[in-house]
Symmetry: C2
Subunit: 343 residues, 2 copies
Amino acid sequence: ALAGPTLAQNLPTLNWRLVSSFPKSLDTLFGTPEVFASSLRKATDGKFNVKIFAAGEVVPALQVLDAVQNGTVECGHTASYYYLGKNSAFIFDTAAPFGMTARQQTAWMLHGNGMKLMRELYASYNIVNFLGGQTGTQMGGWFRKEIKSPEDLKGLKFRVAGFVGQALAKLGVIPQQLPAGEIYSALEKGTIDAAEFVGPYDDEKLGLAKVAKNYYYPAFWEGAAGLSFLVNKKQWDALPPSYQAAWEAACFEAHVDMCAKYDALNPPALQRLVQNGAVLRKFNTSVMDACFKASQETYAEESAKNPQFKKIFEDYRAFRNMEAQWFGLAEQAFAQYSFSKKL
Amino acid sequence: ALAGPTLAQNLPTLNWRLVSSFPKSLDTLFGTPEVFASSLRKATDGKFNVKIFAAGEVVPALQVLDAVQNGTVECGHTASYYYLGKNSAFIFDTAAPFGMTARQQTAWMLHGNGMKLMRELYASYNIVNFLGGQTGTQMGGWFRKEIKSPEDLKGLKFRVAGFVGQALAKLGVIPQQLPAGEIYSALEKGTIDAAEFVGPYDDEKLGLAKVAKNYYYPAFWEGAAGLSFLVNKKQWDALPPSYQAAWEAACFEAHVDMCAKYDALNPPALQRLVQNGAVLRKFNTSVMDACFKASQETYAEESAKNPQFKKIFEDYRAFRNMEAQWFGLAEQAFAQYSFSKKL
């Protein structure tokens, strides 16, 4: 049923700037706002344009939240857990040790209290947040020596991001912060003993198999890692409702696309890494048990310190425990049997 | 950067009809086009309206493809495998025995050849297809008696949909077709011995625990089940590009939302089912092995009969085998350890 053309519209032409926390070389992470911006531009008939800037072009990688909060730019794409120094509760928007998987986290955000709770947190920074992609479970990283027991973690200089560092420190790990570009030489020189990054596709670019061939899994601190789009609240509130709707739908498109891209690119990258010398190793139960216990202690400590952390963690935990029970049945029984078979 | 209002638009007001294969009572499945239509309407400033009709209101549940192909309606929401009688290759748009999980299938569609191949298939029906949601791994169904070995499948009258019926028939199962509303009384009377439907949340509505308490998992024939939006190609081609873009983004929104909804609703439903007498049972390895072998034979037979099936299956299989290898590492190691722990 095609009706006649409507009257003049008053929809504005907008040119916004989006700052990314990632370099162009990481086409998975950097590519996600590109998918988003393309969807938004097309759906608004070319009127709402978002130009994307890589880390460092407008603001440094880890100042995306600040730039959006201050109105330096209208919007950004980042991982909320980079800002745990501002408020440790930000980790639940990205990843938490032994936390939710990609699907569980999206379910918590959309049909649990996740989005509501994270928006409350972001509101005090004048920011509205949106889903912005998922990496899936990451790899545990590259280790020069084997980790056979919790003892082997003592004194280990491990390049590892964020909250899990507090837990690992209890086991004697010395967490290190290093930009991606410096990991290779630090491992080669022995300045650090191990480094985690993302997963096979992104890790391959760093070439670490040559200097630390033991490629451990899983990253129990990143059973999933969620990315986020951030928008300055004043800018968001001023948008026409149709642009807000197009924005939201474009975020969903980018959210699906990023995880699908990782899931398609990681398997062949893994094969290439193994061909080039990476030795796949699984953290054994003694190591996992020690890390689980240390993580539990860290959750309790942080809950005692930060009421917002406590509030969000209680909700996150309850949802996650219920999810774990269900995913442990049909989904796990299928995966366990099926993944071991060649179709 | 807010520019002035633009000139008159020529975007039309559209009122389309969407036919669903599902009844309103299944709010998960029926609700997905509602999420889609709301997103599309808002993003087009109220101009592109899609009115949703439940199964039977305009056409019967399993004639959605025909109605869209013939132009009876502009669009539909359905599961492609309902149309395997037209072409068995349609199953790969929904679910295949021991096939891909939800994330793997979305990856194949968007960053493998899946969408391209399915669009080629749908093109001969004058239809353009889009992602339309995911259920995740389904439950294996409700059984009056325990299934302890492949022997117990002989003569079993099992209400089970589609392609897997051909495989199960090799093991002596007598596949039954029954509308959802007739399952309860058929199980009660013993006309059938077992019935599969979806998962805890949808199954709960049928009340089957009272008449067949053994609730088996997993549905190895539905490691994931993808739903699809179908659009008449002539109607699609006539849409303004901005409406096409808003349509695509709205499909992504609905795609994410449906799986998140299932993942949020299934866990508490499972708990209620168990409280009300359902006994959870896992298909053992001897049963799974027999079904896997029978499925492999069915794939080979169908490939020999249908070149389109063969072409899509070969691509599906290669992608799935690569995915299984990768998901068997980090994702599985995390799930296996983590799901068994209370956070």
